[in-house]
Point group: C2
Chain length 247, copies 2
DNA sequence: AAGTGGTCTAGACCACCGA
DNA sequence: CGGTGGTCTAGACCACTTA
Protein backbone atom coordinates (compact mmCIF):
# COMPACT_ATOMS: atom_id res chain seq x y z
CA UNK A 1 0.00 0.00 0.00
CA UNK A 2 1.31 3.39 -0.92
CA UNK A 3 2.21 5.82 1.79
CA UNK A 4 -0.71 8.15 1.26
CA UNK A 5 -3.39 5.70 0.33
CA UNK A 6 -5.02 5.38 3.72
CA UNK A 7 -4.69 9.03 4.56
CA UNK A 8 -5.50 11.13 1.53
CA UNK A 9 -7.50 8.79 -0.60
CA UNK A 10 -10.72 6.91 -0.26
CA UNK A 11 -10.31 3.40 1.08
CA UNK A 12 -13.39 1.29 0.58
CA UNK A 13 -13.64 -1.68 2.92
CA UNK A 14 -16.68 -3.16 1.26
CA UNK A 15 -17.62 -3.11 -2.40
CA UNK A 16 -20.02 -0.32 -1.57
CA UNK A 17 -19.19 3.35 -2.07
CA UNK A 18 -18.98 5.36 1.13
CA UNK A 19 -21.46 7.94 -0.14
CA UNK A 20 -24.00 5.17 -0.80
CA UNK A 21 -23.74 3.88 2.76
CA UNK A 22 -24.16 7.38 4.14
CA UNK A 23 -27.11 7.99 1.82
CA UNK A 24 -28.79 4.90 3.27
CA UNK A 25 -28.02 6.03 6.79
CA UNK A 26 -29.47 9.47 6.12
CA UNK A 27 -32.60 7.98 4.58
CA UNK A 28 -33.05 5.77 7.61
CA UNK A 29 -32.75 8.74 9.92
CA UNK A 30 -35.38 10.62 7.92
CA UNK A 31 -37.71 7.61 7.95
CA UNK A 32 -37.17 7.18 11.68
CA UNK A 33 -38.45 10.72 12.08
CA UNK A 34 -35.25 12.18 13.50
CA UNK A 35 -35.94 15.19 11.28
CA UNK A 36 -39.61 15.89 10.52
CA UNK A 37 -40.92 16.96 7.11
CA UNK A 38 -40.29 20.67 6.66
CA UNK A 39 -37.37 20.67 9.07
CA UNK A 40 -33.74 21.22 8.09
CA UNK A 41 -31.15 18.48 8.50
CA UNK A 42 -27.71 19.48 9.85
CA UNK A 43 -25.38 21.43 7.59
CA UNK A 44 -23.29 19.50 5.09
CA UNK A 45 -20.14 20.45 6.95
CA UNK A 46 -21.54 19.15 10.24
CA UNK A 47 -22.68 15.90 8.64
CA UNK A 48 -19.32 15.50 6.90
CA UNK A 49 -17.58 15.84 10.26
CA UNK A 50 -20.03 13.40 11.87
CA UNK A 51 -19.46 10.72 9.24
CA UNK A 52 -15.76 11.59 9.00
CA UNK A 53 -15.74 12.19 5.27
CA UNK A 54 -14.83 15.08 3.00
CA UNK A 55 -17.46 17.62 2.03
CA UNK A 56 -17.61 16.35 -1.52
CA UNK A 57 -18.42 12.85 -0.33
CA UNK A 58 -21.12 14.19 1.96
CA UNK A 59 -22.69 16.09 -0.92
CA UNK A 60 -22.57 12.95 -3.04
CA UNK A 61 -24.47 11.15 -0.28
CA UNK A 62 -27.16 13.82 -0.10
CA UNK A 63 -27.66 14.04 -3.85
CA UNK A 64 -29.62 10.82 -4.45
CA UNK A 65 -32.03 11.71 -1.66
CA UNK A 66 -32.64 15.04 -3.36
CA UNK A 67 -33.23 13.28 -6.68
CA UNK A 68 -35.63 10.85 -5.03
CA UNK A 69 -37.54 13.72 -3.52
CA UNK A 70 -36.76 12.91 0.10
CA UNK A 71 -34.66 16.02 0.70
CA UNK A 72 -34.66 19.47 -0.82
CA UNK A 73 -31.67 21.80 -0.98
CA UNK A 74 -32.18 25.53 -0.58
CA UNK A 75 -29.14 27.62 -1.37
CA UNK A 76 -28.11 29.74 1.59
CA UNK A 77 -30.73 28.28 3.93
CA UNK A 78 -30.17 24.58 4.35
CA UNK A 79 -31.29 21.11 3.34
CA UNK A 80 -34.85 20.18 4.27
CA UNK A 81 -37.00 17.08 4.55
CA UNK A 82 -39.68 17.41 1.90
CA UNK A 83 -43.27 17.83 2.99
CA UNK A 84 -44.59 15.17 0.65
CA UNK A 85 -46.32 14.84 -2.68
CA UNK A 86 -47.07 18.16 -4.34
CA UNK A 87 -49.22 19.00 -7.33
CA UNK A 88 -49.85 15.48 -8.51
CA UNK A 89 -53.53 15.11 -7.84
CA UNK A 90 -55.60 12.80 -9.96
CA UNK A 91 -57.18 15.83 -11.62
CA UNK A 92 -54.14 15.91 -13.86
CA UNK A 93 -55.56 13.03 -15.88
CA UNK A 94 -58.63 15.00 -16.85
CA UNK A 95 -59.41 18.34 -18.44
CA UNK A 96 -62.54 20.31 -17.76
CA UNK A 97 -64.40 22.36 -20.30
CA UNK A 98 -63.49 25.63 -18.60
CA UNK A 99 -60.16 27.16 -17.72
CA UNK A 100 -57.47 24.61 -16.88
CA UNK A 101 -56.66 26.32 -13.60
CA UNK A 102 -60.03 25.58 -12.05
CA UNK A 103 -59.95 23.04 -9.25
CA UNK A 104 -63.06 20.99 -8.55
CA UNK A 105 -64.46 21.26 -5.05
CA UNK A 106 -64.47 18.26 -2.76
CA UNK A 107 -67.25 16.64 -0.74
CA UNK A 108 -66.85 13.64 1.52
CA UNK A 109 -69.94 11.46 1.12
CA UNK A 110 -69.18 8.90 3.78
CA UNK A 111 -66.55 7.63 6.16
CA UNK A 112 -67.02 4.22 7.64
CA UNK A 113 -65.17 1.16 8.80
CA UNK A 114 -65.30 -1.88 6.51
CA UNK A 115 -63.49 -5.17 6.02
CA UNK A 116 -60.89 -5.00 3.24
CA UNK A 117 -61.59 -7.12 0.19
CA UNK A 118 -58.77 -9.10 -1.42
CA UNK A 119 -57.67 -6.25 -3.71
CA UNK A 120 -57.51 -3.63 -1.00
CA UNK A 121 -55.86 -5.97 1.49
CA UNK A 122 -53.19 -6.79 -1.06
CA UNK A 123 -52.66 -3.14 -1.95
CA UNK A 124 -52.29 -2.13 1.69
CA UNK A 125 -50.35 -5.26 2.64
CA UNK A 126 -52.97 -6.31 5.20
CA UNK A 127 -54.50 -9.67 5.93
CA UNK A 128 -57.74 -10.20 3.99
CA UNK A 129 -60.64 -9.22 6.21
CA UNK A 130 -58.67 -6.61 8.15
CA UNK A 131 -60.60 -3.47 8.87
CA UNK A 132 -59.93 -0.33 6.85
CA UNK A 133 -61.38 3.14 6.77
CA UNK A 134 -63.50 3.55 3.64
CA UNK A 135 -64.06 7.08 2.37
CA UNK A 136 -66.25 7.99 -0.58
CA UNK A 137 -65.63 11.41 -2.00
CA UNK A 138 -67.14 13.44 -4.83
CA UNK A 139 -65.29 16.13 -6.71
CA UNK A 140 -67.53 18.48 -8.65
CA UNK A 141 -67.46 21.57 -10.80
CA UNK A 142 -70.55 23.76 -10.95
CA UNK A 143 -72.67 21.05 -9.41
CA UNK A 144 -71.56 18.46 -11.96
CA UNK A 145 -69.80 15.39 -10.59
CA UNK A 146 -66.33 15.16 -12.16
CA UNK A 147 -64.48 12.54 -10.17
CA UNK A 148 -65.80 9.76 -7.98
CA UNK A 149 -63.31 8.42 -5.46
CA UNK A 150 -63.30 5.42 -3.15
CA UNK A 151 -60.46 5.44 -0.66
CA UNK A 152 -59.27 2.73 1.69
CA UNK A 153 -56.93 3.62 4.55
CA UNK A 154 -55.31 1.23 7.02
CA UNK A 155 -57.13 1.64 10.32
CA UNK A 156 -53.92 1.27 12.26
CA UNK A 157 -52.57 4.58 11.03
CA UNK A 158 -55.82 6.42 10.41
CA UNK A 159 -57.98 5.57 13.40
CA UNK A 160 -58.04 9.22 14.46
CA UNK A 161 -59.58 10.18 11.13
CA UNK A 162 -62.67 8.13 11.92
CA UNK A 163 -63.47 10.22 14.98
CA UNK A 164 -62.82 13.45 13.10
CA UNK A 165 -65.93 15.21 11.81
CA UNK A 166 -66.50 15.16 8.07
CA UNK A 167 -66.73 18.93 7.77
CA UNK A 168 -63.26 19.53 9.15
CA UNK A 169 -61.52 17.64 6.34
CA UNK A 170 -60.08 19.97 3.70
CA UNK A 171 -60.14 19.51 -0.08
CA UNK A 172 -56.53 18.36 -0.21
CA UNK A 173 -56.29 15.00 1.50
CA UNK A 174 -52.54 14.51 1.83
CA UNK A 175 -51.90 17.62 3.95
CA UNK A 176 -54.84 16.41 6.02
CA UNK A 177 -53.23 13.00 6.47
CA UNK A 178 -50.10 14.73 7.73
CA UNK A 179 -51.96 17.08 10.04
CA UNK A 180 -54.43 14.66 11.57
CA UNK A 181 -52.73 11.29 11.36
CA UNK A 182 -49.05 12.24 11.02
CA UNK A 183 -48.77 10.32 7.76
CA UNK A 184 -46.59 11.78 4.99
CA UNK A 185 -47.39 10.57 1.50
CA UNK A 186 -44.14 10.45 -0.40
CA UNK A 187 -44.73 8.36 -3.50
CA UNK A 188 -47.71 7.06 -5.44
CA UNK A 189 -48.36 4.71 -8.33
CA UNK A 190 -51.35 5.26 -10.59
CA UNK A 191 -52.74 2.53 -12.82
CA UNK A 192 -55.03 3.80 -15.56
CA UNK A 193 -57.52 1.72 -17.45
CA UNK A 194 -60.78 2.02 -19.32
CA UNK A 195 -64.28 0.73 -18.48
CA UNK A 196 -67.93 1.65 -18.59
CA UNK A 197 -69.36 3.49 -15.61
CA UNK A 198 -71.89 0.81 -14.72
CA UNK A 199 -75.25 1.39 -13.12
CA UNK A 200 -74.13 2.49 -9.67
CA UNK A 201 -71.61 5.08 -10.86
CA UNK A 202 -73.84 6.03 -13.78
CA UNK A 203 -76.44 7.21 -11.30
CA UNK A 204 -73.85 9.23 -9.39
CA UNK A 205 -72.60 10.93 -12.55
CA UNK A 206 -76.08 11.30 -14.04
CA UNK A 207 -74.92 9.43 -17.12
CA UNK A 208 -75.92 6.14 -18.78
CA UNK A 209 -74.44 2.99 -17.29
CA UNK A 210 -72.73 2.38 -20.63
CA UNK A 211 -70.95 5.72 -20.57
CA UNK A 212 -67.16 5.34 -21.12
CA UNK A 213 -64.95 6.10 -18.15
CA UNK A 214 -61.33 6.15 -17.09
CA UNK A 215 -60.51 4.33 -13.89
CA UNK A 216 -57.41 5.25 -11.90
CA UNK A 217 -56.22 2.92 -9.19
CA UNK A 218 -53.70 4.52 -6.89
CA UNK A 219 -51.38 3.13 -4.26
CA UNK A 220 -49.71 5.74 -2.08
CA UNK A 221 -46.67 5.14 0.11
CA UNK A 222 -45.00 6.94 3.00
CA UNK A 223 -41.28 7.68 3.42
CA UNK A 224 -40.63 4.21 4.82
CA UNK A 225 -42.17 2.69 1.68
CA UNK A 226 -45.24 1.34 3.50
CA UNK A 227 -48.56 1.56 1.62
CA UNK A 228 -50.85 4.08 3.31
CA UNK A 229 -53.68 4.56 0.83
CA UNK A 230 -55.57 2.68 -1.83
CA UNK A 231 -57.83 4.77 -4.03
CA UNK A 232 -60.03 4.12 -7.01
CA UNK A 233 -61.00 7.20 -8.99
CA UNK A 234 -63.51 7.30 -11.84
CA UNK A 235 -63.90 10.08 -14.38
CA UNK A 236 -65.60 10.69 -17.71
CA UNK A 237 -63.44 9.24 -20.49
CA UNK A 238 -64.36 12.15 -22.75
CA UNK A 239 -62.57 14.49 -20.37
CA UNK A 240 -59.51 12.28 -20.11
CA UNK A 241 -56.18 13.70 -21.17
CA UNK A 242 -52.67 12.80 -20.21
CA UNK A 243 -49.25 13.82 -21.41
CA UNK A 244 -46.33 11.42 -21.13
CA UNK A 245 -42.80 12.41 -21.99
CA UNK A 246 -40.21 9.82 -22.96
CA UNK A 247 -36.50 10.12 -23.48
CA UNK B 1 -7.97 39.02 -3.63
CA UNK B 2 -6.25 36.32 -1.70
CA UNK B 3 -2.99 34.97 -2.99
CA UNK B 4 -4.30 31.62 -4.01
CA UNK B 5 -7.73 32.60 -5.21
CA UNK B 6 -6.99 32.77 -8.93
CA UNK B 7 -4.77 29.72 -8.89
CA UNK B 8 -6.34 27.05 -6.75
CA UNK B 9 -9.96 28.06 -6.63
CA UNK B 10 -12.70 28.50 -9.17
CA UNK B 11 -13.03 32.02 -10.46
CA UNK B 12 -16.27 32.59 -12.29
CA UNK B 13 -16.22 35.52 -14.70
CA UNK B 14 -19.92 35.36 -15.51
CA UNK B 15 -22.82 34.36 -13.28
CA UNK B 16 -22.81 30.99 -14.99
CA UNK B 17 -21.07 27.96 -13.54
CA UNK B 18 -18.17 26.73 -15.61
CA UNK B 19 -19.55 23.19 -15.73
CA UNK B 20 -22.81 24.53 -17.18
CA UNK B 21 -20.99 26.34 -19.98
CA UNK B 22 -19.00 23.23 -20.80
CA UNK B 23 -22.16 21.12 -20.71
CA UNK B 24 -23.69 23.41 -23.32
CA UNK B 25 -20.54 23.24 -25.42
CA UNK B 26 -20.52 19.44 -25.27
CA UNK B 27 -24.19 19.26 -26.19
CA UNK B 28 -23.56 21.52 -29.17
CA UNK B 29 -20.71 19.31 -30.34
CA UNK B 30 -22.95 16.24 -30.10
CA UNK B 31 -25.75 17.97 -31.97
CA UNK B 32 -23.31 19.14 -34.63
CA UNK B 33 -22.45 15.50 -35.20
CA UNK B 34 -18.83 15.73 -34.13
CA UNK B 35 -19.41 12.39 -32.36
CA UNK B 36 -22.07 10.15 -33.90
CA UNK B 37 -24.59 8.13 -31.86
CA UNK B 38 -22.91 5.00 -30.57
CA UNK B 39 -19.45 6.56 -30.67
CA UNK B 40 -17.37 7.43 -27.63
CA UNK B 41 -16.49 11.00 -26.79
CA UNK B 42 -12.92 11.74 -25.59
CA UNK B 43 -11.90 10.60 -22.11
CA UNK B 44 -12.80 12.82 -19.18
CA UNK B 45 -9.14 13.57 -18.57
CA UNK B 46 -8.62 14.63 -22.19
CA UNK B 47 -11.71 16.85 -22.13
CA UNK B 48 -10.67 18.33 -18.79
CA UNK B 49 -7.32 19.25 -20.29
CA UNK B 50 -9.00 20.66 -23.40
CA UNK B 51 -11.31 22.92 -21.43
CA UNK B 52 -8.60 23.64 -18.84
CA UNK B 53 -10.61 22.54 -15.82
CA UNK B 54 -10.19 19.99 -13.07
CA UNK B 55 -11.51 16.49 -13.53
CA UNK B 56 -14.31 17.04 -11.04
CA UNK B 57 -15.56 20.01 -13.00
CA UNK B 58 -15.46 18.05 -16.22
CA UNK B 59 -17.48 15.26 -14.64
CA UNK B 60 -20.00 17.80 -13.39
CA UNK B 61 -20.34 19.05 -16.96
CA UNK B 62 -20.95 15.58 -18.35
CA UNK B 63 -23.48 14.62 -15.70
CA UNK B 64 -26.50 16.62 -16.90
CA UNK B 65 -26.08 15.22 -20.41
CA UNK B 66 -26.15 11.73 -18.95
CA UNK B 67 -29.29 12.57 -16.99
CA UNK B 68 -30.92 14.01 -20.10
CA UNK B 69 -30.09 10.86 -21.99
CA UNK B 70 -27.71 12.46 -24.47
CA UNK B 71 -24.65 10.63 -23.21
CA UNK B 72 -24.12 7.31 -21.50
CA UNK B 73 -21.25 6.42 -19.21
CA UNK B 74 -19.80 2.91 -19.25
CA UNK B 75 -17.35 2.18 -16.48
CA UNK B 76 -13.98 1.16 -17.86
CA UNK B 77 -14.95 1.70 -21.49
CA UNK B 78 -15.83 5.33 -22.04
CA UNK B 79 -18.64 7.83 -22.47
CA UNK B 80 -20.87 7.34 -25.49
CA UNK B 81 -23.43 9.29 -27.48
CA UNK B 82 -26.72 7.47 -26.98
CA UNK B 83 -28.31 5.77 -29.95
CA UNK B 84 -31.73 7.21 -29.27
CA UNK B 85 -35.06 6.30 -27.74
CA UNK B 86 -35.19 2.75 -26.41
CA UNK B 87 -38.11 0.63 -25.26
CA UNK B 88 -40.72 3.34 -25.24
CA UNK B 89 -42.96 2.26 -28.06
CA UNK B 90 -46.62 3.13 -28.00
CA UNK B 91 -47.43 -0.50 -27.22
CA UNK B 92 -46.70 0.37 -23.61
CA UNK B 93 -50.10 2.04 -23.35
CA UNK B 94 -51.93 -1.19 -24.16
CA UNK B 95 -52.04 -4.74 -22.91
CA UNK B 96 -52.91 -7.72 -25.04
CA UNK B 97 -54.84 -10.72 -23.92
CA UNK B 98 -51.84 -13.01 -24.12
CA UNK B 99 -48.42 -12.84 -22.53
CA UNK B 100 -47.19 -9.30 -21.92
CA UNK B 101 -43.92 -9.98 -23.71
CA UNK B 102 -45.53 -10.53 -27.10
CA UNK B 103 -44.84 -7.78 -29.61
CA UNK B 104 -47.34 -7.15 -32.38
CA UNK B 105 -46.01 -7.43 -35.91
CA UNK B 106 -45.89 -4.41 -38.16
CA UNK B 107 -47.18 -3.83 -41.67
CA UNK B 108 -46.80 -0.64 -43.66
CA UNK B 109 -50.02 -0.05 -45.56
CA UNK B 110 -48.96 2.97 -47.57
CA UNK B 111 -46.26 5.56 -48.00
CA UNK B 112 -47.10 8.63 -49.97
CA UNK B 113 -46.42 12.31 -50.24
CA UNK B 114 -49.20 14.64 -49.03
CA UNK B 115 -49.64 18.26 -48.05
CA UNK B 116 -49.52 18.80 -44.28
CA UNK B 117 -52.74 19.94 -42.65
CA UNK B 118 -52.67 22.64 -40.00
CA UNK B 119 -52.15 20.23 -37.10
CA UNK B 120 -49.28 18.35 -38.69
CA UNK B 121 -47.63 21.51 -39.99
CA UNK B 122 -47.74 22.99 -36.52
CA UNK B 123 -46.40 19.81 -34.91
CA UNK B 124 -43.49 19.61 -37.35
CA UNK B 125 -42.92 23.36 -37.42
CA UNK B 126 -43.55 23.57 -41.15
CA UNK B 127 -45.54 26.06 -43.20
CA UNK B 128 -49.13 24.89 -43.73
CA UNK B 129 -49.31 23.11 -47.08
CA UNK B 130 -45.71 21.90 -46.97
CA UNK B 131 -45.26 18.39 -48.23
CA UNK B 132 -44.74 15.57 -45.76
CA UNK B 133 -44.31 11.84 -46.04
CA UNK B 134 -47.48 10.12 -44.84
CA UNK B 135 -47.16 6.53 -43.64
CA UNK B 136 -50.04 4.35 -42.53
CA UNK B 137 -49.07 1.35 -40.52
CA UNK B 138 -50.96 -1.54 -38.94
CA UNK B 139 -49.73 -3.44 -35.92
CA UNK B 140 -51.46 -6.77 -35.41
CA UNK B 141 -51.45 -9.85 -33.24
CA UNK B 142 -52.70 -13.13 -34.69
CA UNK B 143 -54.29 -11.32 -37.59
CA UNK B 144 -56.21 -8.94 -35.33
CA UNK B 145 -55.45 -5.24 -35.76
CA UNK B 146 -54.18 -3.83 -32.47
CA UNK B 147 -52.80 -0.40 -33.28
CA UNK B 148 -53.53 1.85 -36.23
CA UNK B 149 -50.86 4.48 -36.88
CA UNK B 150 -50.71 7.50 -39.13
CA UNK B 151 -47.26 9.06 -39.33
CA UNK B 152 -46.16 12.33 -40.87
CA UNK B 153 -42.48 12.95 -41.53
CA UNK B 154 -40.87 16.13 -42.83
CA UNK B 155 -39.90 15.48 -46.45
CA UNK B 156 -36.73 17.45 -46.09
CA UNK B 157 -35.17 14.88 -43.77
CA UNK B 158 -36.98 11.76 -44.97
CA UNK B 159 -36.96 12.06 -48.76
CA UNK B 160 -34.83 8.92 -49.03
CA UNK B 161 -37.49 6.92 -47.24
CA UNK B 162 -39.94 7.57 -50.07
CA UNK B 163 -37.74 5.82 -52.62
CA UNK B 164 -37.08 2.92 -50.26
CA UNK B 165 -39.24 -0.14 -50.89
CA UNK B 166 -41.91 -0.91 -48.30
CA UNK B 167 -40.64 -4.41 -47.63
CA UNK B 168 -37.22 -3.29 -46.48
CA UNK B 169 -38.57 -1.29 -43.53
CA UNK B 170 -38.25 -3.15 -40.24
CA UNK B 171 -40.80 -3.34 -37.41
CA UNK B 172 -38.94 -0.79 -35.29
CA UNK B 173 -39.15 2.56 -36.99
CA UNK B 174 -36.63 4.62 -35.05
CA UNK B 175 -33.60 2.45 -35.82
CA UNK B 176 -34.81 2.59 -39.41
CA UNK B 177 -34.90 6.39 -39.32
CA UNK B 178 -31.30 6.37 -38.12
CA UNK B 179 -30.14 3.81 -40.68
CA UNK B 180 -31.89 5.16 -43.75
CA UNK B 181 -32.30 8.87 -43.09
CA UNK B 182 -29.64 9.51 -40.44
CA UNK B 183 -32.24 10.87 -38.03
CA UNK B 184 -31.87 10.08 -34.33
CA UNK B 185 -35.04 10.29 -32.26
CA UNK B 186 -34.05 11.47 -28.85
CA UNK B 187 -37.21 12.63 -27.10
CA UNK B 188 -40.94 12.25 -27.60
CA UNK B 189 -44.12 13.66 -26.11
CA UNK B 190 -47.28 11.56 -26.09
CA UNK B 191 -50.73 13.10 -25.62
CA UNK B 192 -53.39 10.58 -24.69
CA UNK B 193 -57.11 11.11 -25.06
CA UNK B 194 -60.30 9.18 -25.56
CA UNK B 195 -62.69 9.00 -28.54
CA UNK B 196 -64.83 6.62 -30.54
CA UNK B 197 -63.19 4.82 -33.45
CA UNK B 198 -65.46 6.30 -36.10
CA UNK B 199 -66.50 4.62 -39.31
CA UNK B 200 -63.17 4.63 -41.13
CA UNK B 201 -61.13 3.18 -38.27
CA UNK B 202 -64.02 0.95 -37.22
CA UNK B 203 -63.76 -0.81 -40.55
CA UNK B 204 -60.00 -1.25 -40.15
CA UNK B 205 -60.40 -2.73 -36.68
CA UNK B 206 -63.49 -4.74 -37.57
CA UNK B 207 -65.39 -3.04 -34.77
CA UNK B 208 -68.43 -0.77 -34.58
CA UNK B 209 -67.83 2.91 -35.31
CA UNK B 210 -68.99 3.68 -31.77
CA UNK B 211 -66.37 1.44 -30.21
CA UNK B 212 -64.33 3.27 -27.54
CA UNK B 213 -60.69 3.98 -28.37
CA UNK B 214 -57.59 5.60 -26.96
CA UNK B 215 -55.86 8.06 -29.23
CA UNK B 216 -52.17 8.83 -28.74
CA UNK B 217 -50.69 11.83 -30.50
CA UNK B 218 -46.92 11.79 -30.51
CA UNK B 219 -44.33 14.39 -31.36
CA UNK B 220 -40.77 13.10 -31.64
CA UNK B 221 -37.64 15.25 -31.59
CA UNK B 222 -34.01 14.78 -32.56
CA UNK B 223 -30.93 15.72 -30.52
CA UNK B 224 -31.09 19.30 -31.72
CA UNK B 225 -34.67 19.55 -30.46
CA UNK B 226 -36.22 19.75 -33.94
CA UNK B 227 -39.49 17.86 -34.47
CA UNK B 228 -38.94 14.90 -36.79
CA UNK B 229 -42.15 12.93 -36.50
CA UNK B 230 -45.86 13.40 -35.88
CA UNK B 231 -47.84 10.26 -35.21
CA UNK B 232 -51.42 9.48 -34.34
CA UNK B 233 -51.98 6.03 -32.91
CA UNK B 234 -55.37 4.44 -32.22
CA UNK B 235 -56.03 1.41 -30.05
CA UNK B 236 -58.95 -0.36 -28.41
CA UNK B 237 -59.80 1.42 -25.15
CA UNK B 238 -60.58 -1.90 -23.50
CA UNK B 239 -56.95 -2.88 -23.90
CA UNK B 240 -55.65 0.42 -22.58
CA UNK B 241 -53.46 0.39 -19.53
CA UNK B 242 -50.88 2.81 -18.25
CA UNK B 243 -48.89 3.15 -15.08
CA UNK B 244 -47.76 6.57 -13.89
CA UNK B 245 -45.50 7.02 -10.92
CA UNK B 246 -45.44 10.26 -8.96
CA UNK B 247 -43.11 11.49 -6.28
C1' DA C 1 -0.62 -3.33 -18.63
C1' DA C 2 -2.87 0.58 -20.19
C1' DG C 3 -6.90 3.27 -20.44
C1' DT C 4 -11.45 4.50 -18.88
C1' DG C 5 -14.80 6.04 -15.57
C1' DG C 6 -15.75 6.11 -10.18
C1' DT C 7 -14.57 7.50 -5.49
C1' DC C 8 -12.41 10.39 -2.19
C1' DT C 9 -9.63 14.07 0.04
C1' DA C 10 -8.44 18.81 1.91
C1' DG C 11 -8.97 23.08 1.21
C1' DA C 12 -10.34 27.57 -1.05
C1' DC C 13 -13.56 30.82 -2.70
C1' DC C 14 -18.36 32.16 -4.51
C1' DA C 15 -23.38 33.08 -4.08
C1' DC C 16 -27.30 33.35 -1.34
C1' DC C 17 -30.00 34.04 2.94
C1' DG C 18 -31.52 35.84 7.27
C1' DA C 19 -30.76 38.14 11.62
C1' DC D 1 -22.27 39.55 9.53
C1' DG D 2 -22.15 34.43 10.03
C1' DG D 3 -24.02 30.29 8.22
C1' DT D 4 -25.65 27.59 4.39
C1' DG D 5 -25.24 25.35 -0.01
C1' DG D 6 -22.57 25.71 -4.76
C1' DT D 7 -18.34 25.66 -7.45
C1' DC D 8 -13.66 24.45 -8.28
C1' DT D 9 -8.88 22.65 -7.79
C1' DA D 10 -4.99 19.16 -7.81
C1' DG D 11 -4.01 15.01 -6.95
C1' DA D 12 -4.43 10.07 -5.32
C1' DC D 13 -6.29 5.61 -5.50
C1' DC D 14 -10.13 2.11 -6.82
C1' DA D 15 -12.79 -0.72 -10.16
C1' DC D 16 -13.78 -2.16 -14.63
C1' DT D 17 -12.69 -3.25 -19.53
C1' DT D 18 -9.86 -4.47 -23.30
C1' DA D 19 -6.01 -6.13 -25.41
Amino acid sequence: MTLNSAITSGTRRSGRARWADIADALRARVVAGEWKPGEAIPAESALAAHYAVALGTMRAAIEPLVTQGVLERVHGRGTFVREGLSGHGLERFFRWSGEPGRMPDSRIRSIRRVRADAVVARALELRAGSEVLRIVRHRSLEGQLILHETLSLPLKKFAVLEKQGLASIGPLLYPEYARVAGVTVHRAVDDLSFASLGTRLGVAFGLPATHPAIRVERRAFDLAGDPVEHRITWGDAHQFHYRAEVR
